[in-house]
């Protein structure tokens, strides 16, 4: 097999537990991603409840976010290739991890891209992640914003006007939001706010990475 990440040939390991799974990455590449940290709300390493989440809670916007991995240099290289170069097959690196995410919610809602961005990139990276999870996907959010989030400062991110609108009925549903990276949490919290206004019962989130 050829590893998706390092392009080297490797021998897939065989055991009873993985006979039916197709291995796409070699072990050294796989274990180079660092697992999430301790914070119960956002997975940041260090404290059981980080400073960020404490502040969100004080403001009354508590959102349980479960990142899978930490956003280190290796993850950055991955995301650069997946998102910005558009190597969509690369998401299969996390196929098994995403399959294992327990989805008890009624709906999975990936964070959308704005119309301009979507026509530019021609795929939604969050939707790609959501498609590998087990659950019903509903694209019930729309987004209208100008500049990209990545490359902005923390203050700019937090002060931005809410770009999301709910486009279909989600009255009384429990919802799992999906995004690629959790940096300040601004995007996810803004999306959650709109969903809550539209009558969603309970909202939590899953992201691929948590920046440190």
């Amino acid at each position: 097999m050829k590893c998706l990440l390092c392009q080297q040939f490797f021998l897939p390991s065989w055991s009873l537990s993985n006979v039916w799974t197709r291995q796409t990455v070699c072990l050294p590449c796989k274990i180079s991603f660092v697992k999430r940290g301790e914070c119960t709300d956002c997975g940041k390493p260090g404290h059981s409840l980080c400073w960020d989440c404490e502040r969100w809670r004080k403001q009354g916007h508590s959102l349980q976010t479960a990142p899978l991995f930490l956003y280190d240099a290796h993850a950055k290289a991955f995301l650069k290739r997946y998102k910005f170069l558009g190597d969509t097959a690369l998401i299969n690196v996390f196929k098994e991890d995403l399959k294992k995410v327990k989805v008890k919610q009624d709906l999975i809602v990936p964070i959308p891209l704005s119309q301009e961005r979507l026509s530019d990139r021609r795929f939604n990276q969050a939707e790609g992640i959501a498609r590998l999870m087990r659950g019903r996907i509903k694209l019930c959010l729309a987004r209208s914003d100008g500049p990209a989030q990545s490359g902005r400062s923390r203050q700019e991110r937090l002060e931005r006007v809410n770009p999301f609108t709910v486009i279909s009925s989600i009255e009384g549903k429990t919802i799992l939001l999906v995004d690629d990276v959790y940096t300040t949490g601004a995007t996810l919290h803004q999306a959650a706010l709109r969903l809550r206004e539209a009558g969603a019962k309970e909202i939590s989130a899953v992201t691929l990475f948590r920046s440190v």
Binding site: G86, A89, R122, F123, N124
Partner: protein, 404 residues
Amino acid sequence: MDIRGRLIPSEQVNISLGPYEKRVPAVTWRCQRCGAIPTRGPCTCGKRCYYCRQCLIFGKLRTCDTLVTDTRPLDPVLPSQHQPLELTDDQRRIATEIGQTIEQSGRLLVHAVCGAGKTPMLFPGIETALRLQKRVLITTPRADVVRELTLHVKRAFKEARIVSLFGGSEERLDIGDITISTTHQLIHYRSCFDVVFIDEVDAFPYSTDRTLHRYVKRVMCPAASLILLSATPSFKNKRLPTVRLMRRYHGFPLPVPQLQIPYTTNQLIEWLRRHEDKPRLVFVPTVAALSEWQERLEQAGLSSETVHAADEARIDKVERFRTTTSILVTTTILERGVTFANVQVAVVDADVSFRAAGLIQISGRVGRSADFPKGEIIFFANDRSNALYEAIHEIKRANREGFR
């Protein structure tokens, strides 16, 4: 925007070309740019959309994209003279041979030893080509070699339009009368060069990557001449006319490697101490071994620097090494295309993973300048490998042939 002789994605083209425009689908059952089998991926076009993973760094190509080219002929080539050269008789013999090949649109393999002065030998040939209105391409698999060649060629041809292409160069998608390029950058070009020189044909990755061979093939015009240059041609192709030059330009023989089997670290350190006043290169087989050896030398009180392919400060380090008398521990990236005056070279663990061609090239780093035509090259090994003896045998044979 001029895209004659090039085939590029239609998004990058911002002008309309009218009837001269020719469009081809970007990805069919194969990627039309690099030839790899594409992968299925999500796309807003709503059809079965495939994209190419192989040439992704040059920009994503999907089934719903198109490639555009301009079918008009390129501008005529302007003749240009090179600066006066001093060639030895041997070099002049090869240069006339190259010139004849260009006139007859033939093929030629130039087998010249390391330090024979391959670059100046090309200049008369290039001049002939420009006089005959032929567009010249000098291509090589290594970006470092491209940079060095560009300097040489720009110094020799003051008036000619020279374009140098490598990853991260400013002159993207440009064609000059003389184009110097890495083999990878040829991906955007189609049948536009009449004379193609390939320097270091046996270098990685050109030696193993068939795609690169195809890139070179398709940038050549129907009646193009192809001239291959190498010190260690890995193919003994009988059908390719070959000229051999087994003598260095300064007339001194190639330094023959010494063997030290088996060796201890102390012997290496002692050898390094002996050449304290000269720059010393230490070749190691792997990237992992770099820091190991650096540490060992550190313990013996010898400060050194390391360099490998993924090193960001690599160009700086090599530049610094040119002016100092220090120790540089390196992997095989410095095995070809670099010249250091009065350098002494040691290869540690020469029996592991080094090939004969690589060892010959490494030995060829020594004594390249006319001021210091002699130097020491020593192979430290714990075991005997065929490659070691092959390399020494080849070097000795070259010396015999050169001084017959």
